[in-house]
């Protein structure tokens, strides 16, 4: 067993274990943390494929940002598992049916010649100074420019839509307007009253 195979096995088994745990553990926070572990292990496998840019970006974007927000939300929710798991048995036949159909479909697709091992010859190792990032950047900005730009626009639209859907003024929330706070002068807040030191008898 070569060292690479050993590393692959470690990452692959961790990935499978973590992915299984995501859907089996009861506590949603633990499930989210297992999902983090799954992302991290798949990043390790991508590194073995010499796709260092994708691997590091996966950690940076999904582990470092998306999952943090995810955990943020999951931790604040008070999820009561009892009503969610209620009626598990009555849904079971439908779920098994859907699962079976999906597995059969997947098996049919994946057993085609297109995904066979011959179609994907073992990649030749690149020299140590080969920069994955550079190659990717060049391809994205020349050959795949339009798909890339279209994807960017779609994402932008999604951002704008998400913000406009969730942004609403709540009347009971108190907002502070910093510019107004700064503009306040002594005259607005303070009134100097001239009065006698002592009331005259």
């Amino acid at each position: 067993m070569t060292f690479q195979l050993f590393v692959f096995l470690v990452f692959a088994l961790t990935l499978l274990g973590a992915a299984t745990a995501v859907i089996t553990v009861r506590n949603p926070v633990n499930a989210a943390l297992f999902l983090v572990l799954a992302f991290f292990s798949s990043a390790g496998i991508w590194l073995l494929l010499e796709a260092e840019f994708l691997a590091i970006t996966l950690v940076l974007v999904y582990v470092g940002a998306v999952m943090v927000l995810f955990l943020f939300v999951v931790m604040m929710l008070d999820i009561n598992l009892a009503p969610i798991t209620e009626g598990f048995a009555s849904y079971l036949p439908v779920a098994v049916g859907v699962g079976l159909i999906m597995s059969v479909e997947l098996i049919l697709v994946l057993s085609r010649d297109f995904f066979s091992a011959e179609q994907f010859p073992q990649p030749t190792p690149k020299p140590a100074d080969h920069s994955n990032t550079e190659v990717l950047g060049e391809l994205i900005y020349t050959e795949y420019l339009y798909p890339f730009e279209i994807a960017a626009v779609i994402l932008l639209v999604a951002i704008v839509a998400a913000i406009s859907l969730t942004m609403r003024k709540r009347p009971q929330t108190k907002y502070q307007d910093p510019s107004e706070q700064i503009k306040v002068s002594k005259a607005d807040r303070l009134r100097v009253v001239s009065m006698d030191a002592e009331e005259k008898p």
Partner: protein, 337 residues
């Protein structure tokens, strides 16, 4: 087989060569912090243990090591114990690619900058998990504040580094430093000054240091995410925070202050310049803490989203135009790699 073993031994040796001095640096950074802030407050600071208090960090360390670790009831035990480790591990792992001088790095990878960003972005897990696993309201509030703050400032920090990328034309840290050779006017601090300021302040915010330390704001939430930690478990959080500070300072030096390059053209470059610059940047962390009062939480968010991110975006556009027109001497398009 023997070659592999030898390789393993050299790598472990290199790691020890980085980590052990780093831990000592952390210990003496705490001493320096107390001394510097002491002098700024016109008092003496620690001066009892050893000559001028020089053994104070070790006294603190032994005290923390001999203290009992208390586990709160109803806490998630495994997560409670793994949280400090998750805070420390990324802080140390990021040091793997930091070049101290020409060729002095544990490893040189050509996506070094990305690797560092990925590692520093993972440090937040220690804080969030600690806050949640402690099963305490104060710890949880601290964790929530910290998560929101780190995610917000990471964007500004990433954008600031995009500017460095555009000017240097490389993701490799050694190439970025090499692109800044030739004296203080070739350092990226000069053409990218707004990004430098944004990067460093965002770095202070990322490490949860004063004035951005709302995650542990004593006056509101006791000690924030580590309120339930004691003894060595607390010490590991402490280590992670200071290792991160040194990390941010080292990165600022590499990205904007020319790394190991000497400030005057012609004077020999070397690791001593790197260490001198890092110490100088670290002084700012201590100085900030002694000077500024803690920010209010909404002010932190406003600064991050409404000031820093627009500033970086505008400056990236400026750099883009300058690079396009090959403005000498900073923005001449460099051959990548």
């Amino acid at each position: 087989m023997w070659d592999d073993l030898l390789y393993l031994i050299t790598v472990v040796g290199k790691i020890l060569l980085v980590v052990l001095p780093l831990l000592i640096a952390v210990a003496y950074l705490t001493y320096a912090e107390r001394k510097v802030i002491g002098y700024m407050h016109v008092r003496i600071g620690p001066n009892r243990v050893g000559f001028k208090g020089l053994l104070q960090p070790f006294a603190d360390m032994f005290k923390l090591m001999t203290k009992e670790i208390i586990i709160p009831d109803n806490s998630s035990r495994f997560l409670f114990f793994i949280a400090p480790v998750l805070a420390l591990a990324p802080a140390l792992a990021a040091w793997a690619v930091i070049p101290f001088a020409e060729g002095w790095a544990v490893t040189e990878i050509n996506a070094g900058l990305l690797y560092i960003l990925a590692m520093t972005s993972m440090g937040v897990y220690g804080v969030i998990i600690a806050g949640w696993a402690s099963n305490s309201k104060y710890a949880f509030l601290g964790a929530m504040r910290s998560a929101a703050q780190i995610v917000s400032y990471e964007i500004a920090m990433g954008f600031a580094l995009v500017g460095v990328l555009m000017v240097s034309g490389s993701l490799s840290l050694s190439d970025i430093i090499a692109a800044q050779s030739g004296g203080v006017f070739h350092w990226f601090m000069v053409p990218l000054f707004p990004l430098f300021v944004v990067y460093f302040i965002a770095g202070v915010a990322e490490t949860n240091r004063a004035p951005f330390d709302v995650a542990e704001g004593e006056s509101e939430i006791v000690a924030g995410f580590h309120v339930d930690y004691s003894g060595m478990a607390f010490a590991v959080f402490f280590l992670a925070e200071y290792a991160n500070m040194i990390m941010i300072a080292a990165l600022a030096v590499i990205m904007f202050l020319g790394g190991w390059m000497s400030p005057i053209a012609g004077v020999a470059d070397g690791a001593h310049w790197f260490f001198a610059k890092v110490s100088f940047m670290l002084l700012f962390f201590l100085w900030f803490r002694a000077t500024f009062p803690r920010y209010r939480y909404d002010q932190i968010m406003r600064l991050g989203w409404k000031v820093f991110i627009p500033v970086t975006i505008v400056w990236i556009a400026v750099v883009g135009v300058a690079v396009f027109f090959n403005v000498e001497p900073w923005f001449a398009l460099r051959e990548a790699g």
